[in-house]
Every structure is written in structure tokens, then in C-alpha cells.
Symmetry: C2
Subunit: 389 residues, 2 copies
């Protein structure tokens, strides 16, 4: 019986798309917590601890987390509605699908957006960023740390350094939906102003929570707005007192928090930030899992979407189908073996590649054997697909 | 051993606040579903069925549901950002806390808002509505079907009739966060344009999903907007194709849906719409539970916040503390007996009253004995509190 045969018998297929990811049983169990009042003394510290542990994950001492029911997309609305005023300029570094979406979101709230577009699989050069920052005053610069559509990893530290050197007041916004807890992030040391993410990827929790952390600089910019915040549900005017209240052990009400999901998030954050392996070890385990899959893919003749190994994500892998084969040859065969990967998402190459996620417990809990399962299934699938041609 | 003594031993305290409510084990279990891809063939019909069953709950044939990760509040943003254009007029019927919040939300997106304010415990009269509608052209009229802060139930059918007679183009927006599935609603027959709600009350599911249903008229008004939609995350331009895709059995992507919560919502909706007791019987069971609690409260000398029995909610009860007693005398004693009720929320009377929820399984599954538990605990508590004075 091969590894992939074993998985056919499991309760569910192995979910290795770049989010939602496999969730551990204890986190799922916490998601089934008996219903609790959102203002009860039992629940208040559960949310309070989530706020504190979110800070730990992104390595910030004083960043202000916002935990709000919603998808990762709501983080873009929060940036656009709270930090950018109508007519101000935003610079979007574009490494795939999500650069276009963030652009549209910023424009919805009245920003003038310029994009610097990298070719598919590449990152934006520091020279291009520097030149754009010198051409006009930007309120925010945004980049997708790992673009889920291409698996391209941008150099967050270098981008922030360029911004601080050339345009120190520009807020650096890191879209970390596909990077937080799977790629190394040091919010304070790198001087990042906004990290926005969601729970269903590296954070190992079901989807449904928008997670944003704002630097002191970002909160100061927010506090000195001249015009009204342009979202109600996403308004920090509403949420800042709520987050401060729960963190200090008091209840406050603006909108009902997703109580069960907060229990689940707490369970996952506790594992990530307060148990072994450490956060640093977790990053290393993600790199190891990533290298194993990327090496196996190379041996199978699969070409990665990222052009340079140094700009390839550690939490996911995007691979072009080999010559003559397409989605229909690969994905259904993998599903039959109990392995669920994702098709393409970037419009220009949508049907030419597929994506594998290796975040959270699939990368960290090596005893699960998820990486082996994926590699074996991939090998078998390619052999079968090639034989069938 | 009294009923309240038994509850002390239960795994958790009985949650009888006006939302979140007690959730059945099968719904909690569904919330712990193994992680699934949001675009998998297994998940697509789960979301598709939620869309269809949501229609059933509000009794509409062609209303368009929107199921989006968020709290009930996000429904206000959807109304304000999709249906009202900058400078248009909105009329808010105010029966408590939520009238003020909805007003602020509408203003955030550029509406000019007029309020008609009922005195605390009362509803807005049809004469006042008629007079306001004659004074100027309103794009939308909003009302809180059950105001969670006062337990006042507005007459949705009468309000819609007045609007159709006096100002037929005005969209009728029913805030049903505290009424859907616990109070009778017939969206089509009453000609309501928007019903917005959330999952954690009558719908018997953990919090974290904004549920909005839009009439054909509302969708036409949306489609004939002259200006850009003013929210990104809440934009129906984005969500309408997604909802249509999932309902027709296809995957589509805008933002990751809260997959586990959708499984939970599906489990609860299946019970509500496809099993015994019927929806009509459920409304009757809510009325019965409500009458039992209100009668017991009257016998205990507790005065309800709603001034008229005909405008009192069936899913919750708001009661003034009796003379000489306050929150500190009542709420901690109830908690000790394992019963969690809610304090006041309406700013003007915050410390003078408390609220009991009796929605979902606490009202419908009589064998649970939740209503008895509440009544016994209330009786014991009042006796103890009065004796201690």
C-alpha cells in the first residue's frame, strides 16, 4: 500500500492548496466550543490573548492588532478606508493577481494608484521602487509578501529599507495573507507599518477572520486624518477601543466577534507562539518542507513559476504543467489519490500551472507525512499521466 | 436538586442572551468539519444549499442572498455602499441603539439621514412614517425589526404597506439581526426589499456570517447606480457573480468564504427549513416560550421595556429591574445558577434593565427545558435578592 493509498482511506482528502490548509484536531475542536457570550469573563481573555499572540507572530512589541470577522480581503478595505484619504497616492508593487485586487480596493476608497508590475514569476526591483518613490509623494506602498497566485516571495526587509531611505513617511503595507507564520516576518526590526492577513493559511485556523496589525506610525497617521473614515464596518475609530478593551480585560461592543473562531484562533496561536517548535524553528520547517517539494518537482521535470529560487515562497509552490500535459491530466489524478492541490489563478497563465500549499501542520508536524504524501502522489500522477499520453 | 442546580453541573452555562444563542451539538460538530477547499466539488453545494435555504427562511422566491464573512453590522455597510449614492436621503426608524448605529453607517457612505425616534419601548407610528415619506424623497427606509437593545418588535408588514402606498420606490430595509427565524417574516408577501441578519441568533449558528437578502427591486436599483459602489469587501459587483456561481454548482473566487461556518450554517438551516417542526411551528414555539417568560416576569413584578405587548419581541425579553434592585443584585446570582443573561444596552436606561434571549433551540426544543431553567433561576434570584436587601 503506497502512501497515497493510505490517504484514500482517511476521513477526508489531504488539503494542500495554498489556503485553507489542514487544521489540527484541537483547533477544530475549539471551533466547536459551546456557545459563549462575547462579553463574558470567560471569553474576554480568550480574545485578549489572541491580540497579544498576534503581536508575537509578527514580532512586534507595540503594533496594534485588529481581529475582525471577515476574510483577508477586509484587511485591504481597512488600509484603504483608514489610512488613505481621497485623492492621495498609493503605490502597489504587483507580483500577481492580488496586486490588481488591492489596486481596485484602494481606488474604491478614492486613492490614486500607480502600479509597478513585475513580469510573471519575478519581483519588483529596488531600483524601480526607488525611482517611483522619487517621482511623487505616496501615502502608502503595498506589496504582496507571497502572492498566492504565483508563489512569488517579495523581499519585505529590502522593500521597507528602500522606502525608509527614499520616502520615510510612506507607510509600508505588507499583504501577508499567504506569508504570516510561514515566512519569516519581523515587523519592528524591518519597520513595516501594516501587516494584514487571515487565519486560514499559516495561522492554521478555519477562514473567517481578518487579522491586521498596525504600527505606531500607522496609528498616528490614522489619528491625524483630516476626513472621515470611509468604511463603517472596517473603521478603526470603532475597532480600536474594542481591541484595547478586550486586551485590558474588559468587554466592549461594536459588532459581535466570531466567538467560536476566536477560540479556534487562540488554540492555534497558543501552539504557534507558546509551544515547541519555536517560531524560528517553524520557519525553518517550512523552508525544509518547501525544499523537499521543490527538489522533487525539479526531478520530475516541473518548472516553478517563480523565476529565482530566492524569490520563491516557502509556504507554497507553483509549478507549470510539463509539456503536453494540462490540469485535466494532473489534478483529477491527484484527487483520486486523496490529495487536493489548487489550479492556476493568475489570468495570464491560469491553465498552465498548479499550486501546492505546504503551510502549518503539513510543514511543521513532520510525523503526519504530508510532504511525503504529496511527493509520492505527484510522482505517481506524472508517471500515469505521461503513460496515458 | 432544583433545575438551576442541575445546570451548574452542565459543561457550560446556559447562554440566554439575545445572541449568540445556544447552539446544537450537530451544528457545533459541523463547525469542526475537516478543512475543505472553498472551490471543491464537495463544498460548492454546501454553500449553494445555504443560499437556497436562506431564501426559504425569509419566505422569498427570487430574493438574492449574500452570505459573506462578517458580523451582522456588515449588512448595514452593504445597504449603504450598494444601494445609497452620495447625497441621497435615508429614513431611519429609531426604536433603540441600533437605529443610531445604522444612521452612522449610512452617513459614513454619504447618505443624508433623517430619523424618526420612538420613545423608549415604543414603535414609530404609521402616521409619522407617512408624514416623513411625504416630506421628501427617500432612497431607503430602514427599521430594526427587533431592536436587541429594547426588545421592541416593529410591525414589518404595516411599515412596508405604508411605504408602498406613499412612496412606492423607496426601498424597505428590514434589519432582522434579532428577528430572522424567530419572528414571522414573509419577504415577498410583505414586499420587503432588504432583509439583513447574522447567524448567531434565530439562525442557530456561531457568529461570523453576514446574511443579506435583496429583492429584485433592490437588485435593479443596484444595477442602475450612477456612481461607483463605495465599499470593496461589501461590493455586490463582486459578490453577486460569486453567489450565482455557487448556487448554480460552480466555484468562483472573490474572497475566501468561511468554509467551516458555512458547514455549520448548512446544518442549522437544514434543521430549520427541512425538518420538523416547520418554520410556522417554530414561530409558534418562539411565541410560546416568550409568553411563558413574560408571564413569569409579570408574576415576579418585573416590568417589560416594550410598552405594548403587541410590540414585544418573541425571541427575547427586556425587563426593568424591580424597585431597589440593580444589575449587581440580579446578574451575578443568575450566573451562579448557571444562567447567562445580558445587561442593558440602550444608553438612556443601560443600568435599569436586563435582557433574556429565547431563540433557536432554547425555544424550539422544549425537552431541553431551557425556558423552565430560566424561570426557576429568575424566581430564585429575585427571592434571594429581595431577601438580601
Amino acid at each position: 500500500m503506497t502512501t497515497s493509498d493510505q490517504f484514500k482511506q482517511a476521513a477526508h482528502k489531504l488539503l494542500v492548496i495554498p489556503g485553507p490548509i489542514e487544521i489540527s484536531d484541537d483547533v477544530l475542536f475549539a471551533n466547536a466550543h459551546p456557545s459563549m457570550s462575547h462579553v463574558s469573563p470567560e471569553f474576554i481573555p480568550v480574545l485578549g490573548d489572541c491580540i497579544r499572540m498576534t503581536r508575537t507572530v509578527v514580532d512586534t512589541a507595540e503594533g496594534q492588532p485588529f481581529l475582525i470577522a471577515g476574510s483577508g480581503t477586509l484587511g485591504w478595505d481597512q488600509v484603504a478606508a483608514n489610512l488613505v484619504e481621497r485623492g492621495e497616492n498609493a503605490l502597489v508593487l504587483h507580483t500577481g493577481y492580488f496586486g490588481d485586487s488591492f489596486t481596485e480596493c484602494l481606488e474604491t476608497y478614492g486613492a490614486n494608484v500607480d502600479q509597478i508590475k513585475a513580469e510573471i514569476g519575478a519581483t519588483v526591483s529596488q531600483e524601480a521602487i526607488e525611482s517611483a518613490l522619487k517621482s511623487k509623494k505616496y501615502k502608502v506602498l503595498t506589496f504582496t509578501h507571497v502572492d498566492t497566485s504565483t508563489a512569488v516571495l517579495s523581499n519585505a526587509k529590502a522593500i521597507a529599507e528602500t522606502v525608509r531611505r527614499v520616502s520615510p513617511d510612506t507607510l509600508v503595507v505588507l499583504d501577508g495573507v499567504c506569508s504570516v507564520a510561514s515566512e519569516e516576518i519581523h515587523m519592528d526590526a524591518w519597520d513595516i507599518d501594516i501587516i494584514l492577513t487571515a487565519t486560514q493559511k499559516g495561522l492554521g485556523t478555519p477562514p473567517g477572520l481578518s487579522v491586521v496589525v498596525a504600527s505606531k506610525r500607522a496609528i498616528e497617521v490614522f489619528n491625524s486624518r483630516k476626513t472621515r473614515v470611509t468604511s463603517y464596518y472596517g473603521s478603526w475609530k470603532k475597532w480600536l477601543p474594542i481591541m484595547k478593551a478586550y486586551e485590558s480585560g474588559n468587554a466592549a461592543y461594536f459588532a459581535t466577534p466570531p466567538v467560536n473562531l476566536i477560540y479556534a484562533f487562540n488554540a492555534s496561536l497558543t501552539k504557534i507562539t507558546k509551544s515547541s517548535p519555536s517560531l524560528a524553528q517553524r520557519y525553518e520547517l517550512h523552508r525544509t518542507a518547501s525544499q523537499r517539494i521543490k527538489t522533487a518537482a525539479k526531478e520530475l521535470g516541473l518548472k516553478p513559476v517563480p523565476l529565482e529560487p530566492t524569490s520563491a515562497a516557502n509556504g507554497m509552490t507553483a509549478l507549470y504543467y510539463p509539456d503536453g500535459l494540462g490540469a485535466g491530466d494532473i489534478l483529477p489524478r491527484l484527487v483520486k489519490k486523496g490529495v487536493v492541490v489548487a489550479g492556476g489563478l493568475h489570468a495570464n497563465i491560469k491553465d498552465k500551472y498548479f499550486r501546492i500549499g505546504h503551510m502549518g501542520i503539513s510543514a511543521v508536524e513532520q510525523s503526519r507525512g504530508d510532504v511525503d504524501t504529496v511527493i509520492v502522489a505527484l510522482k505517481e500522477t506524472l508517471a500515469e499521466a505521461r503513460a496515458a499520453k
